[in-house]
Each structure stands twice: as structure tokens, then as C-alpha cells.
């Protein structure tokens, strides 16, 4: 039986998608939060006051789910690299 998932807390989430609407950005943000909550490769403990993730994507060609997956993957990469 797996252990209880570690608590993950994000105080503030900023997503800057140029050329997109607020609804699209809100949708992407919810998908990113859900993706981080379900991710298993997140460090069990840590305190990061600020984490910046920059991805290159074409929001006009990618849908929200695809964009969200790319954002979660990039965040996990940065979390693993951060001390």
C-alpha cells in the first residue's frame, strides 16, 4: 500500500500566455495544478519561495491540455534540479 501522498502547496500561480484569453489561461492553470498534484516525481519536501518556468509552445496550435502537460513537465524538471 503506497504511503500517503506528500502535501504540495503552491501559494501563487502565474501563467503568462501571450495572445490568449483569460479563460484559456484559467483553464491551463487548473490543468497545471491538477498535473502537479498527481505527479509522482515531486520531491517530498522542499521550500521554494519562487519558481520560474519558461516553455516555448504555440498556444495557437496546442490545446490547453497539451500546454498544461508541457508546463508540468518543465516544472518537475526544475524542481528536481533545484537544491
Amino acid at each position: 500500500m503506497p504511503d500517503a501522498p506528500a502535501v504540495k502547496r503552491i501559494d501563487r500561480l502565474l501563467i503568462d500566455i501571450p495572445g490568449s484569453t483569460a479563460d484559456y489561461g484559467r483553464q491551463v492553470a487548473l490543468l497545471v495544478a491538477a498535473g502537479l498534484a498527481n505527479a509522482g516525481a515531486v520531491p517530498q519536501a522542499g521550500d521554494l519561495p519562487m519558481l520560474r518556468v519558461t516553455i516555448t509552445a504555440d498556444h495557437r496550435s496546442d490545446d490547453a491540455a497539451t500546454l498544461a502537460r508541457r508546463i508540468v513537465a518543465a516544472t518537475l524538471r526544475d524542481l528536481t534540479r533545484s537544491p
Binding site: D11, L14, G46, V53, D58
Partner: protein
């Protein structure tokens, strides 16, 4: 035989008869004949003779307002000024004879004031009676007399009040165990070891009556004043406790202790220890940059080719347009 004249029959041996008719007409001198009640007054006067009995009457009258028991006895014996007049005499013979004698009174004759020792009429209020009542009031009341006593009397009183000098170590014990009036009157003048206790006691006794009067007339209630208990003769307290009383009251008035702080939220480290905490996650999505546009090659210009001779235009010509000519 010749009969003497009428005048000579009246006063045959008058003292001034040889000077004429006027001297003969003057009535003969009458010697003082004391009345029946005069010896009684003389006896009373002899019994209550004050030490200043040899002083003249005016000087003794001047000392009457003082609160002196001897003066009271003298007032009872001495007549009233108005009653001493000849018009109110009880014995007309003595009144008509004594004041009329111009020569100084002989030693065997009583002074005129003794003859006027009659009791005043009932309902008569003399000024001396008022003074006597005031003196009685002053003797009963603890307040100092309005008239300053004689210097000798003051010295004797002060000597009687001042206790003998005591050792300095006994002063606090005496204050704590003695009468309530032994407490110091002024808290700003504590009994220091350098001050002799006799001086402190004298200072305490001297202004007590004045402070008692002030405390009685003070608009503020006595319990409000810490040192007023001394004036009222209450519990004697040492000076240090009297000074600490306002401080104790201040401690009561002091604001209550600060309320306990609300429970602090767990710190970030505690939260991080239990999981992952990210303060701010900032995601920036960058659209892929447009592929760099190919530098359009300059169209082959036959004229330019000719000028360059190699078919390609030199770089400077294209920019500055020098090859257009």
C-alpha cells in the same frame, strides 16, 4: 464785744483765710472715710495679689487680654471702667470724697479702684467679660493663642516639650512604638541618622496643631492624603511605607497584563518539512519565434552586374546606392 463775721463763723481757721474771701468760701477738705464694704475688697486684693501688683493700674489693665489665670483673678476684683465712675457708686460718701482729693493718696488709703469693685448690674456685659471668655476658649482649644506669650513663657514651654536627646538608633523604634502623634509631619524630611532625634521631635510637636486645623478645613477628604493620618492621630506609619503607598495604588491602576497572543501559524520550515511548498510559481509561455526571414537577395541587375564586373553587386553599392549611376 464784737461778734465775728458770718464768714468767720463758718470757717474760722480756714487754711487760706488770710488770702481773702475766696479762700474762705472754699469748702473744707474732707478726709477719705472708707465705707463699710471697703475692707472686704482690701482683703481680697491682698489675697490675690499678683507678682505685678506694684505696677500702676494702667499697666496692669494692659495685660488683661492675655490668657493668664492671674489676670482673671484680677479682673474679678478690679472694677469696670464705667462702674468706677462716681455716678455709679454704691457709697455716695466715698465717691464724693475720694476723687476730689487732689493730693496723692496716702498709703493707708485704698486706691479709688477698690471702691468701685461693686458687681456690675445684671445683664451688663463688659468688654473685659468678652475678653475673659475669649481667653477661656483659647485655653480650652489646642490652637495657639492669638497673642504671643511672653518670651520667658515660650522658652519654658519649649523646654518642657522637647525631649532629651536620644541616640540615633532609638529614633525609628520610638516612632514605631510611640503615640500616633510621633509620626513625622513632612515625608520629604525623613529622619536621617545625621539629624538628632530631639530636633525631629520638636519639629513634629510644633506644627501639629496647625496641620490639624488645616486638615479640618481641607476640602479634600483626609483618606486621600497619605500623611493626613498623622494629623488625625491615626496609625503611625514609617515614612518609607507612606512613600510606597502611592506606588501601590499605581500598581492597582496599571493596565492589565497583555492578553496572550493568538497561536502562531506554523512556520514555513515546519510546513516544508511536512511537504513541498512553492511560494510563487510563475510560468511563462513563449511562442516560438518566427523563422528569420531570408535576406532577399538583390535581384540581379544587369546594370549592376556590369558595374561590378563579376555579376555581383558590391556591398556598399547596395546600401548606399552608388551603383545606380
Amino acid at each position: 464785744m464784737k461778734r465775728p463775721s458770718y464768714l468767720q463763723q463758718i470757717a474760722p481757721r480756714a487754711p487760706g483765710g488770710e488770702r481773702g474771701g475766696l479762700a474762705v468760701l472754699s469748702p473744707p477738705r474732707q478726709l477719705f472715710r472708707p465705707g463699710a464694704a471697703t475692707p472686704d475688697f482690701v482683703e481680697i486684693e491682698q489675697r490675690s495679689a499678683p507678682p505685678a501688683a506694684s505696677q500702676p493700674l494702667r499697666s496692669r489693665r494692659a495685660t488683661l487680654p492675655t490668657a493668664n489665670p492671674a489676670s482673671e483673678t484680677q479682673q474679678a476684683v478690679s472694677p469696670a471702667p464705667d462702674a468706677a465712675g462716681p455716678n455709679q457708686q454704691g457709697a455716695p460718701a466715698a465717691a464724693s470724697s475720694a476723687p476730689a482729693v487732689p493730693q496723692p493718696a496716702p498709703a493707708n488709703l485704698p486706691p479709688p479702684r477698690r471702691q468701685a469693685a461693686a458687681q456690675p448690674t445684671p445683664g451688663y456685659t463688659d468688654r473685659r467679660d468678652v475678653d475673659r471668655a475669649a481667653a477661656d476658649r483659647r485655653q480650652r482649644s489646642p490652637e495657639p493663642p492669638a497673642v504671643a506669650p511672653a518670651p520667658g513663657a515660650t522658652a519654658s514651654v519649649s523646654r518642657a516639650v522637647r525631649p532629651p536627646p536620644m541616640p540615633t538608633t532609638a529614633a525609628p523604634l520610638r516612632e514605631s512604638a510611640s503615640a500616633p502623634s510621633a509620626a513625622p509631619m513632612t515625608p520629604e524630611r525623613p529622619t536621617t541618622p545625621s539629624q538628632p532625634s530631639s530636633i525631629a521631635a520638636a519639629d513634629r510637636d510644633t506644627p501639629r496643631s496647625t496641620l490639624a486645623t488645616l486638615a479640618a478645613n481641607w476640602p479634600v477628604s483626609l483618606p486621600d492624603i497619605p500623611d493626613a493620618r498623622v494629623a488625625r492621630g491615626g496609625d503611625p506609619e514609617p515614612t518609607s511605607s507612606a512613600r510606597l503607598a502611592p506606588k501601590a495604588a499605581l500598581s492597582v491602576i496599571a493596565p492589565p497584563a497583555p492578553q496572550p497572543r493568538p497561536p502562531m501559524p506554523p512556520s514555513a520550515r515546519d510546513r516544508a518539512a511536512s511537504g513541498l511548498h512553492i511560494g510563487t510559481l510563475e510560468v511563462r509561455v513563449v511562442t516560438p519565434a518566427a523563422p528569420p526571414a531570408a535576406i532577399p537577395r538583390a535581384a540581379s541587375n544587369p546594370r549592376a552586374g556590369r558595374s561590378s564586373g563579376g555579376g555581383r553587386i558590391a556591398r556598399g553599392f547596395g546600401v548606399f546606392g552608388l551603383g545606380q549611376t
